[in-house]
């Protein structure tokens, strides 16, 4: 049995079936991402402290540029088929998939950097100040406080500047992925070598210091459990990344089967590319909103 209206539009809707289907699907996607964006806004306005500048703007900008470029190439791939040129379609579609892979690679790198970057909170004020001085010298407490104020300066409504609440940020020797205090203590480790972040306005990291785990109250890499900010950041960007991956797989399938489809049903295939392109544009449009909200504001 032949499926009706895969190439020609239905007389009652004026659309071929797949186009109606993709728009219904995208409507559900709008609700999914809309819910997450609303959650982000509510969490942020309800938070006492909300960090700023935790993500790399140049990297986010590069990824935004890559996704915009991929939207141009996917629409050009569709236009090539409309103009009867499957050869150009292949080139444009391959470029789109390369952009998708580039985006995912950069995103993976960003995740890796976060998973190996740590915050350490100490048990009490005196202990915290001892480590701040070990990290940054005599003015260590002042320097760490400056970093704290810089991180939260935009949304610092109830900051107490209590040293025990101020974290020391940096890297653990060996760059372990996503470890925490419980795991380190469980591995019978008593100390860690910790390289604090460079002081504000400098790119030079201080020397590594030895931190006794018995002095540590909490130790966390920048994983979802670190804070509300990272929880919502990873939730939204990982879901978006899965959409990019899913879209890339479907577009790669179209690229690999173009010769067969172009011979068998060129009009239907062109419509399938349009539907794939609509999904791809939606995913890119989500990023156009995500980038300023999460990276910049």
């Amino acid at each position: 049995m032949e499926i009706p209206y895969t190439a020609k539009p239905r007389p009652d809707t004026g659309l071929y079936n797949a186009k109606l289907g993709i728009w219904l699907f995208l409507a559900s996607e709008v609700m999914l991402f809309g819910g997450l964006f609303s959650s982000y806004i509510l969490l942020r306005v309800g938070a006492d402290l909300w960090p700023h500048g935790m993500l790399s703007i140049p990297i986010g900008t590069f990824n935004t540029f890559v996704l915009i470029a991929s939207s141009v190439t996917v629409v050009m791939a569709w236009a090539s088929l409309k103009l009867g040129n499957p050869g150009k379609f292949k080139a444009y579609m391959a470029a789109t998939i390369l952009c998708a892979l580039g985006f995912l690679s950069v995103k993976s790198y960003e995740y890796y950097v976060k998973f190996t970057h740590y915050d350490v909170w100490f048990k009490d004020d005196a202990t915290a100040e001892k480590y701040f001085k070990a990290a940054y010298g005599e003015k260590g407490t002042e320097e760490t406080r400056k970093q704290f104020v810089e991180r939260f300066h935009l949304h610092n409504t109830k900051a107490t500047y209590d040293p025990a609440q101020i974290q020391l940020a940096g890297h653990i020797e060996g760059n372990p992925l996503c470890t925490n205090l419980k795991k380190l203590v469980g591995a019978k480790q008593e100390t860690i070598k910790f390289t604090p972040d460079a002081p504000l306005g400098s790119h030079e990291h201080p020397h590594a210091i030895e931190v006794k785990l018995s002095d540590v109250q909490r130790l966390s890499s920048y994983v979802p459990a670190h804070s509300t900010f990272f929880a919502i950041y990873f939730t939204i960007t990982a879901l978006h990344g899965l959409h990019v991956l899913g879209g890339a797989i479907v577009l790669a399938y179209f690229l690999l089967t173009v010769d067969k489809w172009w011979k068998k049903a060129p009009e239907q295939f062109t419509n399938r590319i349009e539907v794939g392109g609509l999904f791809w544009h939606f995913v890119d449009l989500v990023w156009i909103f995500l980038f300023p909200i999460i990276y910049l504001l």
């Binding site: 659309l15 939207s71 629409v75 349009e274 392109g277 156009i288």
Partner: protein, 68 residues
């Protein structure tokens, strides 16, 4: 809505983002004097202008394709 119409919407959103981001980075540059902020601000402005030119080219190229 066809891919053509959605693409026009997307390019418009991208141009607005590029213009705003350019302003954002150049404003930051006046405070920080960091070369990266200047490059991002200028680069974003140029990208926005490029997208406007591309949008016009795109509309001309696909003028025979429906918006539905």
């Amino acid at each position: 809505m066809s891919l053509k119409a959605f693409h026009v919407l997307f390019v418009t959103a991208s141009v607005l983002l590029a213009a705003w981001f350019s302003w954002y980075e150049l404003s930051r540059y006046t405070d920080t004097k960091a070369a990266m902020d200047l490059w991002l601000g200028v680069g974003s402005g140029v990208t926005g202008a490029g997208l406007v030119a591309y949008g016009i080219y795109f509309l001309k190229k696909l003028k025979n394709i429906s918006y539905l």
